[in-house]
Structure formats: C-alpha cells, structure tokens
C-alpha cells in the first residue's frame, strides 16, 4: 500500500492541509514540522486515519468532535481508495465525498489486515522505541533469539515483558519459598484446617462431659442431706459445753452481792457532777478577787486624765485652718511671678500701639476696635478685588488673541489662489489610469517582439537545405504531408527489402563459411576418399593393365605411354611394380570407400549443400540488384518532387522534421505579425492618453513637457491634489472668519463690564478702611496686616487684665486667712498672738490634735472599768449556784456532810460492777440456749454428762469435715463440667475456620490459574523466540550485518552470531579489523541504537520479500545520531523506500538539510508543515 495523499482537513491544529505523498515510485518522504507546527498531530492523524479517532481525542481544540476529518488517497497496485475518517461511533469511515459510508474491511485490505498494534509496532518506530530497543539489547546480553524476535516484531522491550512474566509468576509461587502468595496461602490453609479440626467438638467428648456432670450433681445432693442432720447436733453439744463455766460464774456473783449489804446505786455521772461543783466554786471565788483589783487601778488612771474642752469645742475651725494654710503659703509664693507676667504683656501692647498709631495712648486704643460687621466687609472687599482684576486681565487677553487670529485669517484668504475648473483634467487622468501600466506593457511587448524576431532569424538560418527570407518560406509549395508519408513508406519498404536481402546474403555467406569449415575439419581428420579418386585409380589400373597386356600378350609396347604411366608411380620404374601399385591403390581406394562410407557420405552432403548455397547466393545477388535499382528509382522521383522548391531533399524520414520546422517557422512568422500589431496598438493608446492629458494641463496653465505618460499622469495627479488642498483651505478659512468676528466683540464687552464693577468696588473700599486711619488706596494686604496687628494688641491687653484680676484675688484670700487665725488665737491661745500668722496657725493645730488623743484614752479607761464590774457580779452569782449543787448531791447520797461523798461513791461502783457481770452471764446463757429460756436451758444442762462432751463433739466434727470435702469436690465437678458444656454450646469456631480454609482454597485456585497462565506464557514466548531464531537467523542476520556496517558508517564491518559461555546464541558486532564487540557495555548506547535499527530494518525487509508493502513511519529517530551516521541512516531509509514508502517525521531542520544535500532528488521528497492552512 502506498499513501498518495494525506488530507488533514480538520484535525488538531490543521485546517485543509494536504500532504501530497504520491511523487516518486514510493519514496522517502521527510515531513518537517518545527515545534508547534503540528508534527506529532500529523503523525497521530496518519495513525488515526487507519484505525479510527479515539472517543476521548484531544485533537478537538480547533475543530469540534463532529467536524474532525482526516482524508487520504491510498493505492495498492492498480487499485485506489479515497476515504475520510471522522469521529463517530459507527460509520466513521466514509468515501471521498464525505457522505457514502465505507466498510471498515475496505481499509483493512490496504493495511494487509494488520491491526493497530501490529501496524504501530512493526511499521512505526520513534526515538523512545529505538532507545528502549537499544537498552533491551544491553539488558539481554545480546541473546540472539530475543534480539531477532524483538526487532522483527518491533517490540522494544521484549526482555522486560519476559522479566515481568517471570516476576509475576514468582510473586505467586516459588517451589522452596514461603512468601509468594500460593506458598503463603497453602501454609495458611493448612493452619486453618488444623484450627478447624482442633476447634471441632467430637460427639463422644460432649457425651462424656454430660454424663460426668449428671453424676456429680447426684453426689452433691446426697452429701448435702447428710450434712443437714449432723451439723445442728454438733452445734447443740458445743453450746452445752460453752454454758457450763457461765453457770459457775453466775453462782459466785450472786454470793458477792449479798456480802455488800444495802448500798445506794448512784448514777454513773455522780462523781463527775460532784467534782464539777467543787471546781466551779473555787474558780468563782478567784474571779471576784481579781475583778476588784482591776477596778481600783482604773479609777486612779481616770482621775489623772483631763483634756481642754474649749479647744476641742472649736476643733472643726482649727482643722479647717490646716487646708487654708497650704493655699495661703502657695499664693504668697506665686504673687510676684504673676505681677511680672502682667507687666510684660502691658509693655508688648504699648509697643504694638506705638507701631500702629503713635498718636494714641493705651487708654485710647479702644477706638481702634472694629465691629464684626466692619471686619467682614473688609474681608469681602479684599477678596473681590483679586477676582475683579483677574477678570479684566482675562477679558483683555481673550480679545487680543482672537483679534490676532482674525487678522491672520483675513491675510491668508487674500493670499490664496483663485479656484479653477479641473474637470477635464480629471477625465483625462481617469482614462489614462484605466489603461494601467500601459508603458510597461509596451516595453514588455517590444522585448518579446525582439526576442521573437531574433529567434525566427536564428531558426530560419538553422533550417538548412534552403535559403531565402521568411516570406519566401511561407510561400514554399511543399509536398503534401500524405505524399511525404507515401514516399517515406516506399523508401522504408525499399530499404527494408534491401536490408533483408543483405541479411540473407550475409546468412548465406555464413552458411557457406560454416560448410567450408566443416569440410575442412573432415579433411583434417584424414583425407576423405572420393569416388573420383577410385575412378582415377581404376583408370590408372586399366591403363597399367592395357600396358601390361600389350607387353605381355601383344608384345607391343607403347613406350611413351609406359613412361607417362611410370611417372605416376615414381620412383618405381618398372611396369609390373607400377601396375601392382596401381592395382593395390585401386583396391585400397575401393576398400577405403567401403570402410569410410559415412565420412564419404558426410562429405558428399557438405559438398551438395555448398553447391545449393552457391546457387542461392546467385539468386539473392540478382534480387539485390533489382532492389537497388528500385530504390534508385524512388530516390529520383523524390528528388524530382523537391526540385521546384530549390531544395535538395534528404530522405523522406529526415524531411518530415524539416517540414515540421518549416511549419513552426510559418507559425512563428504569424506570431511575429501579431506582436507587431499589438505593440502598435499600445503605442496608439499611449499617444491618445498623452494628448488628452497635455491638452487638459495646458488649459490649466500647466506647461506640457516631453515626458512619459506615467510622468504626465503623476504631474496631473499632483496638480489635482494641489487644487484639492487650496479649495479645502479656503473653505476652512471662511468658516473661521465667520465665527471669529462675533467672538472679538464679545470679548470687548466683557472687558468693559469688569472695569465698571471695579469702580463700584473702590467707593466701598474707601469707606471701609477709613476707621483704620488708612488711605483709600491701601491694598487689601495692608489692611489685612493692620487688622492682625490690632487683634494682637487687643489679645495682649485682655491677657494682662486677667493677670491683674488673679493678683487681686490672692490679696483678698490672704487677708481673710489672717483674720481667721487672729480670731482663733484670741479665743483659744492668746500666748501665740505674737507669732507669724502661718506659724500661729500651725501651733494651734498641734495643740488641738494632742487634746483629741487625751480624750480618747480617757474614754477607753472608763469602758474597761465597767466591764470588770460586770464580771465581778457574775462570779458572785456562780458561787451561789455551786453551793446549791453540793447540797443536792448530799441529798442524793443520803448523807449530811459533803466530805463523806467519795466514800459512798466507791461502794456504789462496786455493787454496780457485780450487777453488770451477772447480766452478762445471763445474756450469754440466753444466747446459747435459744430458743429455750435461761431457766429451761439451765435445766437441760443439768441432764448432760459433762465429761463425755468433748469426745462426742470431736467425732461429729470429723464426720462433717469429710462430708464437706466430698461435697466440695462434687460441686467443683459440676461447675467445671457445666462450664465445659456451656463453652461447647454453640461456638462456631470450627465452622469459621473451615470457612476460612475454603476462602484460602478459592484464593489458591485463582492464583494457580494465574500462575499456570504466566508460566505457560513465559515458556511459549521462550520457545517461540528460539524457533524464530532458528528459522530466520541466516537471512535477517546477514542483511542486518550489512545495514549495521552502513549505519555505523564503517565503524563496524558487520554482525556475527557467536555463542556465550552458556552455549546460548548471542549477537556480537565485528570491527573492520576482525575484533568483536559484545552487545554489552563495550558498545556505546548510540551504536546499540543503530544495531537495533539495523535489525528492525533487516526484519522489515525480510517481511517485505513476500508481503505487500506497508508504509514505514519513522518519528525523529535521528536526534541522537551524529551527522555522519544520520546521513548513513537517511541513505539506508532511502534504500528501503525502493521497497516500501517511508514517511519520516522530524522537527530538526538540519536533518532536512542533510537529506537534501546527500540524497538523490528522485527518491527524497520534503514536506513542510509550517503554514497550517496552506496546501503544500
């Protein structure tokens, strides 16, 4: 298949871009697109044309999805296909009309049924694939099978595919491993199975537990019944044993109680109460005594303290002095400072006034004070003055400017030239322009005419066979073409007949020569006996016989005849010998004729043939002569036909081109005439246009000059332009004049109005400044200055007044303070009268504070005394109460004197102790004997044999302990078995483990399937690689070897198959000197890339031997090649392009240049993608 044309109608950045790839047989097409020009888009378009635009295409940034179109024309042998690929889910392939849907199968025929992946891997190579292919060679250590397989299939990373198959399988299973999934899961599965088994509960085990539990429960019940009888009996006996000592103690207590006699049983707190009463009595007595001492002490203190009452009565006034004293002292300090300030201000005021109005005193200064209204009036007027003067100035300037412009416009208008009528010029001009560049045309026509004339003359001279001018040539009565044809045919026939005869003569001569040669050969083998020789021998024998007979029988000798006869048999000189010889010779001849009959026949045949040949030759010679004469006749007729033309003709065949040339000259002559006419026509038009223009210009007063039409047109254009400018300018000036007149008048009026206002202002100003004593022409600035001075003056005076006021206040307050102090001193402390007023005040305050302190102390002493009096009274009351309590205690103990109380208390305590013990014994008996009463219990004890008790109790205890132990065991068994059964109950541990085992089994199953596939795939691939190597190693390797030498520009001589240490076939590069370089680190990356390329191309060529060609798409594989190897590669690709179309995409200009420099133009076609919408 070949791509004739690729139409990037609407795809990626392209709109209607066409790559014409049909030049050359197949050709190496270099498609150059600099960055951004869409090289990769074009490449993608090519592939998507064949195999469809993917649904998520990104090539819709210019054309929307429904508009995407890639068109192409493909050819395969004599068949052609025009198709368009668009983006659609179905019917995305259409015929060239973009309407008719095409079956996808149509395209697949052109692609030899290759699917997309195969097409891309086998018929496409790009730089990454090249590099990957090279790297794969390195990784594979040159394994020949892998290399051939990968290169032929276009697979760049075969080794990593193999590696991955192996790795993935190893991740699943390794015979001795434990980590791969299958290994791990097998172990897990085994574990889960064991767990399930371990968790299983066998029926027998459950039954066993169930039985044990039942037995234990029964035993437990029996023992509990026995214990229920024995334990109470043992308990009863033990109680009896415990009660025996209590009974003895009871009897003893009763005896002791009787011995004490009658004793009052005092309450438990009796002793405490008695001790409390005695203590209270003694404490109260001490309190009374100490209280009286304290009262006496305080009374003496009170008598000594006596504060001055008068001073305390005026306390508030004296304390008031304390505040005023500080103020008074500060005011006395401030006063001189204030006076100084006031004096300074007054002096400033005086200075200002002196400057302002030296005629006035400070007292008179008040006359200068202005009312608010006056001040405002002054201010307003001041402001107005500026505005007024500005307006006047503005009005004046406006007036001057406009007036100047008015004058200038008037002057210019007067100077402008008067308007003229240009109509006729414009008409002439338009007409001249409509002719276009007629002079140029005329020049061109003249040149062409000259050229034609020259050519005609030259060709006329070259015509030959005839002399004369063109006109004569045109008139030549040439023979009709048919006559020439006829003559040519006749001549041809004659010539051919002659040739044929000549050939036949030659053949005949050759035959004769061959016959001669054969005859000679025959002779060389030995003389061939001829019939004639035999005849001759026989004749001689006959002659001899006649001579012999004559001599022998007739005795008549003919000596001359004998001599002649003998001469034939010299050196024999006797007739008999000669006759014998003759007879022998004749016999020999006859014998030889018989013996060599074949050779004789052959020779006779040859001789007959030769004779026939000679006869034939004679016949041919006659025919030849006849033909010669015929030809001569024809020539004469032919020459005669031309005689009238004074032409010595050549052969008819040679004369035919002559006639053609003559005809051409005749046509040329006509063309010459046409050209002359057209030049004349052009001349005429120019002249007319010039005439019109000159006339129009002259009318307008322009001087006409000898010049070309173009210059005249230019001049007319200039004149017309100039006129247009003048007319326009006049219009502008007239408009300007019309508007400026009124504006000037307006300006003048404005100026007058402003002057009038200024006069009014002057009157008001005079009146306003008058109170300030300023003249009427005082400026607003002056007035402003005076006003601010006046303000300063009044400010100073105001401040001075306020200081005077404060000084006066200080004097008043000091006097008041002094009066107050004198008053108080007079009343309370006349002894201070002589002191300074502030010192006196201070002393007075001190005295007052002392008096206050004395007063407070007196008060405290009085309060304390009162407290002590109350306490003394309380203590006296306590003494009375304690004495009453003692009396009550004596009464309780039935005694007269309090001194006997301790003794009675002692007896009472003892009796109470005995009673308590007795009650205790009683209670214990009651407890032991319950539910019987104490009396009943005592009676029961009486019936028991005390000495047997311990023995009976011990026996019973032992029995109970034994039973208890047994019951404990049974109970434990119940608990343990019960728990075991409960645990067994419904746990699903075994089922869970079994489920896990199933899950693992499922996982193992999937993994095994996957593993099997991977291992089989790996083995199949390995085997296929090896098989392919065996089949293809020879031819592919041989071709790759020479390609490799070429691609490395002779750095390598080729490739060789070798064997590595493991006996595997490996590939090595061979240097020109015979050294080998392995496909490992010894080979540079670039060289390895070239090796891979060589293998790819060799495999491709191998494929193309039997298969239809498919274009080979190359995407910029040379970017890492140096120039030398790039050139070599381009040449190799050019070589490949004789077998199949090669389309080489690049965005490197220098590669395009290299290709153009080093490749034949017939095989290289360069396409540029620069203009995206231009057709290339």
């Amino acid at each position: 298949m070949k791509i004739d044309r690729l139409d990037l109608r609407a795809f990626g950045p392209f709109t209607d871009l066409t790559l014409a790839l049909d030049r050359g047989d197949l050709g190496l097409h270099v498609v150059y697109g600099p960055n951004e020009a869409g090289k990769s888009s074009a490449l993608r378009a090519l592939r998507q044309l064949f195999y469809g635009i993917p649904s998520r295409s990104t090539d819709n940034f210019v054309h929307a999805y429904p508009e995407l179109r890639i068109g192409a024309t493909l050819s395969e042998g004599v068949e052609r296909l025009e198709c368009i690929r668009r983006k659609a889910n179905k019917n995305d392939l259409r015929a060239g009309d973009d309407v008719t849907p095409l079956e996808p199968g149509v395209l697949s025929k052109y692609l030899a049924g290759l699917d997309r992946e195969t097409f891309e891997t086998m018929f496409g190579i790009d730089h990454p694939a090249l590099v990957q292919g090279g790297r794969d060679l390195l990784g594979g250590g040159g394994n020949l099978g892998q290399i051939l397989f990968a290169a032929a299939a276009g697979i760049a990373d075969l080794r990593s595919v193999q590696q991955r198959l192996g790795d993935e399988a190893a991740a699943l299973f390794v015979p001795k491993g434990s980590n791969p999934r299958i290994n791990r899961n097998l172990a897990e599965w085994d574990k889960a199975r064991k767990e399930a088994r371990a968790a299983e509960l066998p029926s027998s085990e459950w039954e066993q537990h169930d039985k044990t539990l039942a037995q234990a429960r029964r035993k437990q019940a029996e023992l509990e019944a026995k214990l229920a009888a024995a334990i109470p009996e043992k308990s009863r006996l033990e109680r009896v044993r415990q009660a025996l000592p209590l009974l003895a103690k009871r009897n003893q207590l009763l005896t002791e109680l009787t011995g004490l006699g009658p004793v009052p049983l005092l309450a438990d707190e009796f002793s405490d109460r008695r001790r409390d009463a005695v203590a209270a009595l003694s404490t109260a007595r001490i309190t009374v005594e100490s209280g009286e001492n304290a009262i006496r002490e305080l009374d003496s203190q009170i008598a000594q303290l006596e504060p001055p009452a008068a001073l305390l009565a005026r306390g508030e006034a004296v304390e008031g002095l304390q505040n005023d004293l500080g103020g008074y002292r500060k005011a006395q300090r401030d006063r001189p400072i204030l006076a100084g300030r006031r004096d300074q201000l007054m002096s400033d005021a005086r200075r200002i006034l002196a400057h302002l109005r030296p005629d006035l005193t400070l007292a008179e200064a008040e006359s200068l004070r202005l009312t608010k209204k006056q001040e405002i009036e002054l201010q307003n007027l001041g402001n107005q003055h500026g505005a007024l003067t500005t307006r006047i100035e503005q009005a004046r300037r406006n007036f001057e400017k406009r007036d100047a412009r008015l004058q200038a416009a008037r002057r210019e208008l007067a100077g402008l030239e008067s308007p003229r009528n240009f109509d006729s010029l414009l008409v002439a001009l338009r007409r001249a322009q409509s002719l276009g560049d007629v002079e140029q045309d005329r020049a061109a026509a003249r040149i062409e005419l000259t050229r034609l004339e020259g050519r005609t003359v030259a060709e006329l001279a070259r015509l030959g066979l005839w002399t004369g001018d063109l006109e004569a040539l045109e008139r030549l009565p040439l023979p009709a073409a048919e006559s020439i044809d006829r003559a040519e045919q006749a001549h041809g026939a004659a010539e051919r007949a002659l040739e044929r005869l000549a050939e036949q003569c030659d053949d005949n001569a050759a035959n004769q020569a061959a016959l001669e040669r054969q005859l000679r050969q025959l002779e060389l083998q030995g003389a061939v006996p001829a019939e004639t020789d035999l005849v001759e021998s026989r004749r001689r024998r006959e002659v001899g016989w006649r001579l012999v007979r004559a001599q022998w029988l007739e005795r008549e000798r003919d000596l001359s005849a004998e001599r002649a006869f003998l001469a034939e048999f010299a050196p024999l000189n006797d007739l008999a010998a000669a006759y014998e010889q003759a007879v022998r010779q004749a016999d020999e001849q006859a014998d030889r004729l018989r013996r060599e009959a074949d050779r004789v026949a052959t020779r006779a045949g040859f001789l007959a043939d030769r004779q026939a040949c000679q006869a034939e030759f004679e016949k041919l010679a006659a025919q030849r002569r006849e033909a010669e004469s015929q030809r001569r006749g024809l020539m004469d007729a032919w020459n005669a036909a031309w005689q009238a033309l004074a032409v010595a003709p050549l052969t008819p065949r040679e004369m035919r081109p002559w006639v053609v040339k003559q005809q051409a000259l005749v046509q040329q002559s006509e063309a010459l005439r046409r050209h002359r006419t057209s030049v004349g026509e052009l001349e005429r038009r120019i002249a007319t246009a010039r005439g019109d223009l000159d006339r129009a210009l002259t009318e307008l007063g322009e001087i006409a000059a000898e010049e070309s039409l173009a210059v005249a047109v230019e001049r007319a254009l200039l004149a017309s332009e100039r006129n247009k400018v003048v007319v326009a300018r006049r219009a502008t000036l007239e408009t300007e004049l019309a508007s400026l007149g009124p504006e000037v008048a307006e300006c003048r009026e404005q100026s007058a109005r402003a002057c009038q206002e200024l006069a009014g202002w002057g009157a008001r100003w005079r009146a306003a400044v008058e109170p300030l004593g300023l003249p009427a022409d005082a400026t607003p600035a002056q007035v402003h200055e005076v006003l601010s001075q006046i303000h300063a003056l009044f400010d100073k005076l105001k401040d001075a007044a306020s200081f005077s006021e404060r000084i006066a206040d200080i004097g008043r307050e000091a006097e008041q303070f002094r009066t107050q102090v004198a008053d108080l001193v007079g009343q309370l402390a006349p002894d201070l009268a002589g002191l300074a007023v502030d010192e006196a005040a201070e002393r007075l305050i001190d005295s007052h504070r002392q008096a206050i302190t004395h007063e407070a102390r007196l008060d405290a002493a009085r309060k304390q005394r009162e407290k002590h009096a109350i306490q003394r009274e309380q203590a006296r009351q306590a003494i009375r109460e304690a004495e009453g309590a003692m009396d009550a205690l004596c009464q309780e103990a039935h005694c007269e004197a309090a001194e006997r109380l301790p003794e009675i208390e002692q007896a009472s305590t003892k009796a109470k102790g005995l009673h308590v013990n007795l009650a205790h014994v009683h209670d214990n008996l009651l407890l032991l004997g319950a539910p019987a009463t104490v009396e009943e219990f005592i009676a029961e004890i009486g019936g028991v044999e005390a000495d047997d008790l311990p023995v009976r109790i011990d026996a019973l205890s032992a029995q109970i302990a034994g039973w208890n132990e047994e019951r404990e065991q049974a109970s434990n068994t119940v608990a343990v078995e019960g728990k075991a059964l409960a645990d067994m109950d419904t746990s699903a541990a075994a089922a869970d483990a079994a489920e896990r085992a199933q899950s693992l089994l499922a996982e193992i199953g999937s993994d095994v399937e996957e593993y099997v596939r991977l291992r089989l795939a790996s083995a199949v691939l390995r085997e296929a690689i090896e098989r392919y190597r065996k089949k293809n190693q020879g031819p592919v390797l041989e071709r790759a070897s020479s390609l490799f030498a070429e691609l490395t520009a002779g750095s390598f001589a080729g490739l060789r198959a070798d064997y590595d240490d493991a006996g595997e076939a490996v590939l090595v590069g061979a240097r020109p000197d015979g050294r080998t370089v392995g496909v490992d680190d010894a080979m540079s990356d670039g060289t390895r890339d070239q090796l891979y390329l060589a293998l790819r191309l060799a495999s491709l060529e191998n494929y193309l031997i039997e298969k239809q060609p498919i274009p080979f798409i190359v995407d910029d594989i040379l970017i890492k090649f140096d120039n030398e190897r790039s050139i070599a590669t381009l040449k190799v690709l050019a070589g490949l392009s004789k077998r199949t179309q090669v389309i080489f995409f690049t965005h490197h200009q220098h590669l395009v240049e290299l290709a153009e420099q080093h490749l034949d133009g017939a095989e290289l076609f360069v396409h540029r993608l620069e203009g995206k919408t231009r057709s290339l």
Binding site: E200, A990, Q998, V1008, R1013
Partner: protein
C-alpha cells in the same frame, strides 16, 4: 385453618465456597450464614405462629463432625419449644452420614420420623396426618415413597420425603420416584427435600421442594429460604416463599461488545453490579462476573487479568459500599475483529501463534510444557481437585483453557509498546 413451614437442606455450618478474601470484601457479613438462616427460620415460625415446622432432611452436612453444630441446632429447636411449636423432621442422606444425628438428643418438641419404615404422625388438633421416612444410610437407592401409607381419610395429609424426584444433574439420585408414585397416595401436600432449587415438581403445586435455606456457592444463586403453607378450612393449601438467607449468590453477565478499553468494561460491570445490588434488598451478595463479547479491550484484559479483576473488585466496593463480594471474574472476551488468518503468515508473532496452535493440537508437546508446573503440582492439596471449580493440574482441559488465554496475554503485553500517542 392453620399454617406450617416447610424447610429442607439447612446444611448447618457448611462453609461458603469459592470466596477469596480481599481487601474490602464483606468478610464479617458471611460468617455463620447457615446458622443465621436457621435463626431466621425459627424467628419466622414464631412470628407467623405456625402450627408446626417440617424439615425434609439434611439438617447437617455429611462429613461435618463438630458437635457444636448439633448443639446450635438444638438451641434453635428449644426456642421453638418455648413457643410451643412442634417440629417434624426426617434424616436426609447427609444426616444419615452424620454421627450427630444419632448422638444428639433433641428437645421433646422435635420428632424424628423413623428410617426403617414409613410412619404417620396424626395431629388431631388440626386434623393433619404427617407421613414420612428418613434415610437409614447415606445412599438410599430404593423408592421410599412407594411404601408410604395411603392418605388418612378426612385429614390434611402431608408427605415428608427426601428425594431426587425424577432426577437432577447436580444432585445424587437418591430415593428417586415419579409423579404417579406420589399422586397415588392422595396426599394434600408433599414436602420434599434434597434438591436445593426451590419449586414445584412435575407442574404439580401440591409437590414442592423448599430448596436450601442459604446458598453456599455460585451454583446456588438467588433468594433461598422456606415455604409457608397456609391451609384453609376446606383443606386447600396456599404456598408462599419466605427468604431466610443472609447472603446471596448471583451471576452478572456483562457484554463488553465494542468496549474501547478496560475501563469501559469496568464501567459496564459497575452498571450490572448496581442492578444486582438493587435486587438483593441490602443483603450482601457474592457475584460472579462473566465478561463476554468482541471488543478492542480484549487484548488489554487478556494481558493482565489479575489487574482487571482487582479493578472490578474496587468498583464493586465503591458501588455497593462493601455489600458485594466479587466471587470470581471470568474474562471471556474475544478480539474486536477476527484476526486475519494471513496476518501472521510471517514474523515472530506468527511463530508464537503457530506454536500455541501446535500446543493445542499436540498433547505430547503440551505434556512437555506441563513439566514446568511439576513443582507446584506436588504442593497443591487434594481438596483443590474437588468440586465443579476444581483446579487439577493433571487435567488436560486445564492446560487447554490456560493456553487459550496465553496467546492474547502475550500479544497484549508484547504490543503494549509501539508509538507513544
């Protein structure tokens, strides 16, 4: 008027099969599924206030020996006892094979009908006669039904029978019988067990298989449970199915026709999974995904089946919030267009295809190749070689199947390179 439940084939604690565990699979949801189903059965009986429960055999799994399974069954029967619901059951082939059947004492509300000869239990309160006979051993070949007594006149007669009926390819042919055998007894209802697929037999609505209560592998798809039979005063039976299962099994057939790439296929699987999920009433479900059809995605799928299986698992997780367990993914797509037979006439890939074809045709060469798997074969447990999804490395079919995947796998991987687009 009364109701009863007809259940069968509980196969208590029989493990679920074929579920590979993987990240995101609903592992917890499947634990003890057969037990949960039995619990559901008991709850249903109590809620529906049925008169009695019939179990037509196969409570246990034949070779399952854990007695706890029996104890669990007993505890559920005790629940029914507390609700005063009697249970009548017969032994199926699995029960007969299981020792537990004999050694476990069941509560007194449970009656196991004898295995030596058919017996009849009359329930006068409802006017019902239950006829039945269990399996005496694991493989009963005779027609048990033939010896069943004729219907008790005036009663609602029920036949309780464990049978393969007239046969099913996936079940052992035990106690086989035909329509006439059963019809001739003039019973009102036949409660059958053994066949795990629910439904009436011979088009006769009075003869029903209850199916099993919980599906346990991919051949037991769809809802599983029991039949609730309501009998009205005129002894007419109305049969209603009630699901008991807690985990379902479904097949998802996905047509990958014209899919451009693997992700398109995954999208289609997701759509199908959504449908399955919506049909399962929030139950977790194991799905076998089977992808067929001619598509361009074929090579990519074939090249890396494990990867695409994982993609499908992931999309299942996203689609059903952990409620779908992808049991297995069967990628059985074919190339988008039939390969041109002349295409591989030359070149390495032709060599490869040729060799694969030779392998398919040549058992000796295949056997040589199988030598690669000898190490693995030695390690695989016998359990893997059992059942319908067995993996038997000695089985020639396994290699043939694997080889079918090998060529596209290799082509896909080898040709993944080419131009960068």
């Amino acid at each position: 008027m009364f109701k009863f439940i007809h259940a069968a084939d509980i196969h208590l604690d029989s493990p679920l099969k074929g579920l590979e565990q993987y990240e995101g699979a609903p592992i917890d949801e499947i634990r003890g599924a057969t037990r949960r189903a039995l619990e559901n059965l008991a709850r249903l009986a109590i809620d529906e206030e049925v008169a009695f429960v019939l179990i037509a055999g196969d409570v246990y799994d034949g070779n399952w020996r854990d007695f706890k399974t029996g104890l669990f069954f007993r505890s559920e029967m005790s629940r029914l006892r507390e609700a005063d619901i009697p249970v009548y059951l017969i032994s199926g082939n699995h029960d007969a094979a299981n020792r537990m059947t004999k050694s476990l004492e069941l509560p007194d509300n449970v009656t196991r009908l004898p295995s030596k000869k058919p017996a009849t239990v009359p329930l006068e309160r409802y006017g019902v006669s239950i006829h039945g006979q269990g399996f005496a051993n694991a493989a009963v070949r005779e027609n048990l039904a033939a010896a069943y007594p004729l219907a008790t006149p005036g009663h609602f007669n029920i036949g309780l029978l464990h049978t393969s009926a007239s046969g099913s390819p996936s079940h052992e042919p035990y106690a086989a019988c035909n329509h006439d055998d059963l019809r001739s007894k003039e019973y009102d209802y036949w409660a059958l067990g053994h066949i795990h697929q629910r439904g009436e037999v011979w088009g006769d609505s009075r003869i029903q298989f209850a199916g099993n209560t919980q599906g346990r592998h991919i051949r037991e798809t769809g809802p599983k449970g029991c039949l609730v039979v309501s009998v009205d005063d005129r002894r007419r039976a109305d049969v209603r199915f009630e699901p008991l299962d807690v985990f379902r099994w479904e097949r998802a057939q996905v047509d990958a026709g014209h899919a451009e790439n693997g992700y398109d296929v995954v999208d289609r699987v997701a759509n199908e999974l959504r449908r399955v999920r919506d049909d399962c009433d929030d139950r977790p479900v194991a799905v076998r995904v089977q992808v067929n059809g001619a598509c361009r995605a074929h090579e990519s799928l074939a090249a890396e089946p494990a990867r695409w299986t994982n993609e499908i698992r992931a999309v299942a997780r996203d689609t059903a919030a952990g409620n779908i367990w992808i049991e297995k993914v069967k990628l059985e797509t074919s190339p988008a267009h039939e390969l041109d037979s002349t295409r591989w006439a030359e070149g390495p890939l032709a060599e490869l295809a040729e060799y694969v074809a030779q392998l398919q045709a040549d058992p000796a060469e295949r056997a040589r190749l199988a030598g690669e798997l000898a190490e693995l074969k030695r390690k695989l447990p016998a359990e893997l070689k059992e059942g319908d999804d067995r993996i038997d490395l000695d089985d020639p079919q396994l290699l043939t199947d694997a080889l079918r995947h090998v060529e596209p796998m290799l082509l896909g991987r080898l040709r993944a390179g080419g131009f960068a687009s």
